[in-house]
C-alpha cells in the first residue's frame, strides 16, 4: 500500500498515522519530504514521526526541520511580545491569530508549525490608534502604492501590511476575519469579547473561535493554497478541544457551511471517511502536489483561484481590481 499514492495524500497519511512512514523506501521518503516542504508542513511532520525507525538521512533532515520550527516559534513569539509592548501604551491587548496564537497558547496545532507574518485582531474602533502606535514603535508601510493602499483600507479586513524596519518582520492588523466585500460577515466584536487571556498579557480567540476562523480562512479568504496545513490545524484543535458549541459558534458568524465542510474534509484526509459530491473536488485541489514538490492539477487550481477572487469581491469590483493590476504590470 505504501508508495502507491502519488499526491499529497501520502503526506496527509503520514501526519494522521505516523507509523505509516515505517517501511517507506528511499523514493518514498524523498517524495514525502519534498511534499512536506512544499506544503510548509515539514516541521509538523518532523515532530509527528520523531522517534520512529527511519533512515539516518531522513532523520537528519527532520532534525533540521525541528530546529528550524523551534527558531520560527521563538521569532514569532518575540514579534507578538513586541506588538504587545507597542500596544500596551494605548491600552490595547491584541488577539493573536493563526500560528502565533497556537504556539503562544502551547497548542498541539502549533507543534512544528511554520509561522509567517504576525496576525493580530483588534477592535475596529481602535484601528487608527493601533496604526499610530505601531508606526511609533518602528513599523513601516510595505507598499507605497496608493491604489493598493486605498483598496486595503476600503475593502480588506486588515490594514495594509506593515514591516518592522529593524527586525524585517511583517504584521497584519485585522479588525475582522474576512474582507468586508464577502457576503459572509462574521461578528468580530463577539470574537474579541470571547477571546482568552494568556499569562503573557496577550490574547487568543476562544477554541471555537479559532476553529471558525480556520474554516473561514480556508474557504473564503484564499484559493485553498495551504489547505492541507489549514485542515491539519483544524484537526489538532478538534483533538484538543472537541466540538462542543461549535455549531452555534459557526452559525453566529454565518460560517456553518464552511465549518461542516471543514470537518468532513478533515475526516476524509486524516480519517477514513469517503468523500462525496463537491468534497471530492476540494480533496483533489488540496492534495494537488507531486513527489517533486510540484503543484499539479492546474485546471482544478485555477477553478479555485477564480472562485477565491469571486468570493472576496463582487464581480464589477473584481473586474476593476484586475484591470488596475494588469495595467500596472
Amino acid at each position: 500500500m505504501v508508495g502507491a499514492v502519488n499526491d499529497a495524500r501520502l503526506l496527509a497519511r503520514a501526519l494522521a498515522d505516523p507509523g505509516s512512514v515505517v517501511g517507506l523506501d528511499a523514493a518514498g521518503w524523498t517524495a514525502l519530504l519534498a511534499m512536506a516542504r512544499a506544503e510548509q508542513l515539514i516541521g509538523t511532520l518532523a515532530l509527528r514521526v520523531d522517534g520512529l525507525p527511519m533512515p539516518d538521512a531522513a532523520k537528519a533532515i527532520l532534525a533540521d526541520a525541528r530546529a528550524a520550527a523551534e527558531h520560527g516559534r521563538r521569532a514569532a513569539l518575540w514579534e507578538a511580545e513586541m506588538a504587545r509592548r507597542a500596544l500596551a501604551a494605548i491600552g490595547c491587548q491584541p488577539v493573536l491569530l493563526k500560528g502565533t496564537a497556537f504556539v503562544a497558547a502551547g497548542l498541539s496545532a502549533g507543534q512544528g508549525r511554520s509561522i509567517g507574518d504576525l496576525d493580530i485582531l483588534v477592535p475596529r474602533a481602535a484601528i487608527d490608534a493601533v496604526e499610530a502606535a505601531l508606526l511609533a514603535a518602528g513599523w513601516e508601510w510595505v507598499k507605497p502604492d496608493p491604489y493598493d493602499d486605498a483598496y486595503y483600507r476600503r475593502w480588506m479586513h486588515e490594514l495594509p501590511p506593515l514591516i518592522h524596519r529593524e527586525r524585517d518582520r511583517m504584521i497584519d492588523v485585522h479588525h475582522t476575519i474576512l474582507p468586508l466585500t464577502t457576503r459572509v460577515t462574521p461578528d468580530a466584536g463577539a470574537l474579541i469579547d470571547d477571546s482568552v487571556a494568556l499569562e503573557s498579557g496577550l490574547r487568543t480567540l476562544s477554541p471555537n473561535g479559532m476553529l471558525v476562523h480556520a474554516a473561514a480562512h480556508l474557504f473564503a479568504d484564499g484559493d485553498l493554497a495551504g489547505g492541507l496545513r489549514n485542515l491539519w490545524d483544524i484537526r489538532c484543535l478538534i483533538d484538543e478541544f472537541g466540538t462542543d458549541g461549535l455549531d452555534a459558534e459557526a452559525q453566529r458568524h454565518g460560517l456553518s457551511r464552511e465549518m461542516t465542510r471543514s470537518l468532513r474534509l478533515v475526516d476524509t484526509l486524516f480519517g477514513d471517511r469517503k468523500a462525496s459530491g463537491t468534497d471530492r473536488l476540494y480533496i483533489r485541489r488540496i492534495t494537488a502536489r507531486d513527489g517533486w514538490g510540484r503543484p499539479i492539477r492546474p485546471v482544478t487550481r485555477l477553478a479555485f483561484y477564480v472562485r477565491s477572487h469571486w468570493l472576496r469581491m463582487p464581480p464589477a469590483m473584481l473586474a476593476r481590481h484586475l484591470w488596475t493590476k494588469w495595467r500596472k504590470s
Binding site: 527558531h71 521563538r74 521569532a75 513569539l77 518575540w78 511580545e81 513586541m82 509592548r85 518602528g138 529593524e166 527586525r167
Partner: protein
Amino acid sequence: MPEPIFRAAPDGSLLIAPLDAFTAAYHRASGITHLLAEPAPQILAVLGEGASSLDALLARLGRDYDLDDGTREALAARLDELVDAGLVERA
C-alpha cells in the same frame, strides 16, 4: 507621573561574547544578535539583577565606574536605545 522603571530580561537570557571594544550578545527570547558598546553591557548586567529607576541605576553604576557630568542624559539615551532593541522594557 511616576518615575518609569526599567527592566531587563532575567539572567541567562543573554549569551555574551566579548570581542574587543564591542561585545556580541545573543538574545535568546528573540533570536537576535546585538553588538553592544560600553556601557550597554554594564547596564544590562545591573538591570539583570533587578528592575530599577533611572536614578537608582545611575547610583548603582556610579559605585563601579567613574561617572561625570551629563551622565544622566547620556544614560537615559542609552536606555532608550536598549528599549528600542527590546533588551530593556519600560514598565
